[in-house]
Symmetry: C2
Subunit: 340 residues, 2 copies
């Protein structure tokens, strides 16, 4: 039995609960993983803890009806997120709250508290991974547990574990990619003839972009993710201010047309690379020749291309957002902890 | 110290020896892996065993000079491949001989002998994986060791471990891809206006195709690889005769032009999928719309697209052949064994 506590019950957290409900028996058969969610806490959604494990069907029914976790018929209610981490019998803490890229808080404190107490941490939150990966990795090592972050970049599409585990043995010299779905959707629509303003509005209507789209269109989300790739995959020490950043707000239809007429396509490319043995990174709209595998990555798809000494280029393409995909990224990390 | 014996000393085996020579210290720093090649045997190249580990620079120099391993100044010479597996102090047997897709022999016997004696096996040979994966996996499990086959498909580009480890937690419903570099090179050249005959001749000149190109152009190599993907990733029981197979020898310039005029591209696609809960597979030239990520995979590049319940499509693109790439695939498996 593997006891799991879940911090954060938005789209990702709910998808994870549904996935564990639906796949419990299959996970047990395939991996010997008997996954039990023992505690969940969500900002403004209450909290629930049952050391025997929550009945997920009951819990999800209650939540759907009431919008709150505390209508669950048994268990302990009212624990804070920190108490859920420190005072429950969970061995793995899954953190799926909203990213605070400035300070990483409160998640950073949650992660430290969990690792210090010998609990594994799996998170989709970009803050701790972007701001303090090395420190957290050392803390995990010291306490004999794992800190896993697959779903912070490209959601459930393998990116972190792909580069660090599948490509182990390769010296990786750079990572570049399309790592923000919203801007890729907008640029793809612009190539079809839609104006920036209309494409953004449509992205908002479809739920791809926030009401305030700054984090996406100005490149901040891509900055956080390329910091993670640079620091985790290339072993860098990038801080947010080190990343050169240009968003897509100045891209005009004329630019898009001109690129097209030259057999190219404009993509918001984030790249981490070595320069004089130091890891550098930048995010900028880039004119890609159509022969570049990244040029064919359209709509909300994301992709990364890893340059290695053993294979030249390797590219992974897949969905980069969404509750279900991200939940599966978290699940792959839970399985990896269980296996090793 | 991890003692490794290498069976097969062609392009792949030599690349692996060079890679271990070049990366020994880096592997130790990064993964704590102190990799020692203790024995090598190659068909018609002799064999050499030193239980303290071979000095790879000396060995590669001797081999380059004499074309034989036995000029190495010390150690035991003349062991057969089977003796190298059974009678040396190697913990990991790396098998990099030529595929016999009919019977899998002699590799199949080598793999069984190694696993039965509690030695891990890492192989790039498609025979055992295609013909007897389940049996060998069970034998490995029974003996507490691992049987790893990353480099059998897409050489060093992650494919097997990508699907089984990175995508753990996803139910995979199908795998399709471009898994033969020679035919992809020929089709790419044909699209540029070169005839099939000239493109094949150029592929032979560049070393992409054998003097007898049947295994590639008639689809047999792709059959072996899609059997591996179907049996390993989807859990099937495919035999060679179960795989519908059409090669590229009947593709004309007219076909290629017609596809192009319809905004499509002809690719030799191998696919494994579920039909009434049974794993099926086929290999056939397929007209892909240019929007399909596989349509942009040109030249000798390979790729697979995995369909999952958690993410829809995920695609990996990378080199599919070559000594250095394959050697890195083998190395990633060695590191995985060392880690777990």
């Amino acid at each position: 039995m593997t006891n799991i506590a879940l911090i954060g019950f938005g789209a990702v957290g709910q998808s994870l609960a549904e996935t564990i409900r639906d796949k419990h028996d299959w996970l047990k058969d395939h991996f010997g993983l008997d996954a039990k969610l023992v505690a969940i806490t969500g900002r403004s959604k209450g909290s629930i803890y049952d050391l025997e494990g929550l009945d997920l069907q009951t819990l999800l029914d209650v939540f759907q009806e009431t919008g709150n976790l505390e209508g669950y018929p048994q268990g302990i209610k009212g624990l804070s997120s920190m108490e859920t981490i420190t005072d429950t019998n969970a061995e793995i803490i899954v953190e799926a709250t909203i990213t605070n890229i400035k300070t990483g808080e409160p998640t950073l404190s949650y992660v430290k508290a969990a690792l210090s107490r010998g609990k594994h941490v799996v998170t989709s939150n970009k803050g701790p991974a972007a701001l303090a990966y090395k420190e957290l990795q050392e803390l995990a090592l010291k306490n004999g547990v794992q800190f896993r972050i697959e779903s912070t970049v490209l959601s459930g599409t393998p990116a972190i574990n792909f580069a660090t585990e599948n490509l182990a043995g390769h010296k990786i010299t750079s990572v570049k990619g399309i790592i923000n779905g919203t801007t890729n959707y907008i640029l793809t629509e612009m190539e079809k003839g839609t104006s920036y303003t209309d494409a953004l509005r449509e992205a908002q209507r479809l739920g791809y972009a926030e009401a305030d789209p700054t984090a996406d269109v100005e490149g901040w989300d891509a900055v956080a993710k390329i910091m993670i790739l640079g620091n985790v995959v290339l072993g860098g020490s990038l801080k947010s201010k080190d990343v050169e950043r240009t968003g897509i707000t100045n891209i005009t239809m004329e630019d898009v047309e001109k690129a097209k007429s030259e057999g190219k396509r404009i993509k918001l490319i984030a790249e981490a690379y070595m320069e004089n043995n130091v890891v550098k990174a930048k995010v900028a709209p880039t004119w890609l020749p159509l022969s570049d595998p990244l040029a064919s990555v359209n709509g909300t798809l994301n992709a990364i291309t890893v340059m290695t000494d053993g294979l030249e280029e390797v590219t992974v393409i897949g969905g980069g957002a969404g509750g279900l995909g991200t939940a599966h990224g978290l699940l792959s990390d839970i399985i990896a902890i269980h296996r090793h």
